[in-house]
């Protein structure tokens, strides 16, 4: 009984990690940009949900409105970041980490100055409150919703990458920038679109997180380290790896936490990732490239 409950807890945590990491798997995994402000884009998504609910009022309608709006807000912030700073730094990936860290600091303080330091609350719609009882097991509706949302995002992203002309261009640029440009693909436009989508996914994750936790200026910092670990463990370049890694990390955290404590579980997960990278430095799934490393 408990094992099944923990299994669900692990999958659910995995879906949260996946939402947080999915955008990163594009911007970091595909473009090599270490965007430390990704967490703050999530925060922006969460505050979008707060503002939308303030305007609309009805919790259900505002949640459904906030999801696409959060995507746009996160995406636009990402676009702005790409156009002003990141685009001049594609040759210096490590430096993007520091620049975006600065951006993250500024965004946090902006949120503090605009929305005030105290946390704010977004009400969950009535149809998401409580739990679904299956065989004596209570599955919280919000958790089910986030699982479904994560699944939708993954499928949509995978389809977009695989089946659309845009996806083909993105993959081409990732695999060989010079050759893609030589074939007539505008890598500038492709970069911007990729960054828009990746950051937009952070916005969606932020909206989803309002169902689970607090909405405050430091919301993003709670997730950023975990999200990067997921991408690193999952490997570069494919959505598949991120999905598996997020699920695995979620399950590990849930089961370690059940048998030990939350603190010990977190440390164990970190250790497990480091050990795993010893075995597979390229992560779970990697695209074969011609580089030596």
């Amino acid at each position: 009984m408990d094992i099944i409950a923990q299994l669900f807890a692990g999958l659910s945590l995995g879906s949260v990690l996946l939402l947080a990491a999915l955008g990163l798997s594009l911007t970091f995994g595909q473009m090599g940009v270490i965007n430390m402000a990704h967490g703050e884009f999530m925060m922006a998504g969460a505050y979008t949900a707060f503002v939308v609910q303030g305007v609309v009022g009805d919790a259900g309608v505002s949640l459904l409105l906030a999801l696409p709006l959060g995507f746009v807000v996160g995406g636009l912030l990402g676009l702005l970041l790409e156009a002003t700073l990141i685009h001049r730094m594609y040759r210096r990936p490590l430096d993007t980490l520091l620049v975006t860290w600065g951006v993250a600091l500024v965004l946090q303080q902006v949120a503090r100055d605009v929305f005030g330091a105290p946390n704010v609350d977004v009400r969950a719609p009535a149809w998401l409150s409580g739990a679904v009882e299956i065989g004596g097991l209570a599955l919280p509706r919000t958790r089910l919703f986030i699982l479904a949302l994560a699944a939708v995002c993954v499928v949509a992203l995978a389809l977009a990458l695989r089946a659309t002309p845009l996806g083909r261009r993105i993959r081409a640029v990732v695999q060989n920038r010079d050759l893609a440009e030589a074939s007539g693909i505008s890598s500038r436009t492709t970069d911007r679109v990729t960054f828009f989508i990746g950051s937009g996914l952070a916005g969606i994750a932020g909206v989803a997180l309002t169902l689970l936790g607090s909405i405050g200026p430091t919301l993003g910092t709670n997730y950023i380290v975990d999200a990067f670990l997921v991408v690193v463990a999952g490997g570069i370049g494919q959505v598949k790896g991120t999905v598996i890694a997020a699920t695995a990390l979620g399950l590990m955290q849930a089961f370690f936490e059940y048998s030990t404590t939350a603190s010990v579980a977190k440390v164990l997960v970190f250790v497990a990732v480091v050990a795993f990278l010893q075995l597979r430095p390229q992560g779970l799934v990697s695209v074969r490239t011609r580089s030596l490393a």
């Binding site: 990936p93 430096d95 520091l98 600065g102 500024v106 503090r112 990067f228 970190f270 990278l277």
Partner: protein
């Protein structure tokens, strides 16, 4: 030849003059600063020690380490544990363990009762951890960004461990309330002055070591590995070994900084060693000029000073200022402020040659 005219000259003369000037300034600082400001300066010097190491590992070696707080913390905590045990006297139990712990000193604290063992452990523990981690990561050719993220995860895990083991590490409170430093009363202004001089001497020593390393064959290899790792490998060198050495040296420097930070500031807590302070160590290095000798030190001291003075005036202003510094310097001036001087000098020379 005056110091100032030497400063205007190129190359080693300039380095030497700058070094001499810095030493002289550090020697004279106590005469102009109040005891409170002198303590602050001593604290900044400890943070600058971390910066020297980062300058070597990141600036010369391209190893962006986001986890220097771990080594800073190891040094600091080991020193703090020794001071706590020394305060408690032979066989005594530190006060916080009586309050929050079992009232007994755990076995792994015991070796730190001896001052000599404490000093050795402060140097050896961080070195061993850095060597093990570095070896594991670099021989597997883990990429730069991966290394950065792993080192950050290390800092996160280290903080969680420290906080979770409250009975033996003090938890979020950290360790504080030290009375003496190797027998010298910490409340005595004369001893605080002594601590300042020790910090200044150690920092100058580190800069000299960093200079020696950077100008040696090892330093050249390090830069070579940073810029073209594969070529280094094809020439028969082991890039992993070169990186590990740089990483270990940086770790030990951070640990020494942490160890001196403790008696000077009087506290070490998880808030000083986690993810955020670890990134904070980088900003001074980036601003001063990561690949220069004195850049990291001067940048680090300048940033610490700015943080103190700006936050005294505008609390939230500091955050914006820090963020803006990161953005502007790293994006538009990757060489740091040191490169401004370089650019200006080149321009001057160019004008002179045209004239």
């Amino acid at each position: 030849m005056t110091v100032l005219s030497a400063l205007a000259r190129p190359g080693r003369t300039r380095t030497l003059a700058a070094y001499g000037l810095a030493a002289a300034l550090l020697l004279l600082a106590p005469t102009v600063l109040s005891p409170f400001r002198l303590d602050l300066l001593a604290k900044f010097l400890c943070l600058a020690m971390v910066a020297v190491g980062i300058g070597l590992a990141w600036g010369r070696g391209g190893l962006l380490t986001l986890g220097q707080g771990v080594y800073f913390g190891l040094g600091g905590y080991l020193m703090a544990m020794h001071l706590k045990l020394a305060d408690a006297g032979p066989g005594g139990v530190p006060d916080f363990m009586l309050l929050y712990g079992t009232g007994q000193v755990p076995g792994w604290w015991e070796p730190l009762r001896s001052p000599i063992a404490a000093i050795l452990l402060i140097l050896l523990v961080p070195a061993a951890l850095a060597a093990a981690l570095g070896w594991a990561v670099f021989t597997r050719r883990v990429r730069g960004a991966y290394f950065a993220i792993l080192s950050q995860a290390l800092a996160a895990a280290f903080t969680i461990l420290l906080i979770g083991q409250q009975q033996t590490t003090g938890g979020t409170n950290g360790l504080n309330g030290f009375r003496a430093f190797f027998g010298y009363d910490l409340a005595d202004p004369a001893n605080r002055l002594m601590l300042y001089f020790i910090a200044a001497a150690v920092l100058l020593g580190m800069v000299a070591v960093a200079h020696q390393l950077a100008t040696s064959r090892f330093g050249e290899l390090l830069v070579a590995v940073r810029d073209q790792e594969d070529r280094g490998r094809f020439l028969g060198y082991d890039p992993a070994l070169v990186k590990v050495v740089a990483y270990v040296v940086a770790a030990v420097m951070a640990a020494i900084g942490g160890a001196l930070f403790v008696p000077i500031v009087g506290i070490i807590s998880p808030a000083d060693v986690g993810v955020v302070p670890s990134i904070g160590f980088l900003i001074g290095v980036a601003i001063g000029g990561r690949a220069t000798l004195l850049g990291p030190v001067l940048g680090s001291i300048a940033v610490s000073w700015a943080q103190t003075s700006i936050s005294e005036q505008f609390p939230s202003g500091w955050i914006y200022f820090q963020g803006a510094l990161f953005i502007l310097v790293v994006a538009f001036l990757p060489g740091g402020l040191a490169s401004v001087a370089g650019v200006a000098r080149r321009r001057r020379t160019a004008e002179r040659s045209r004239a």
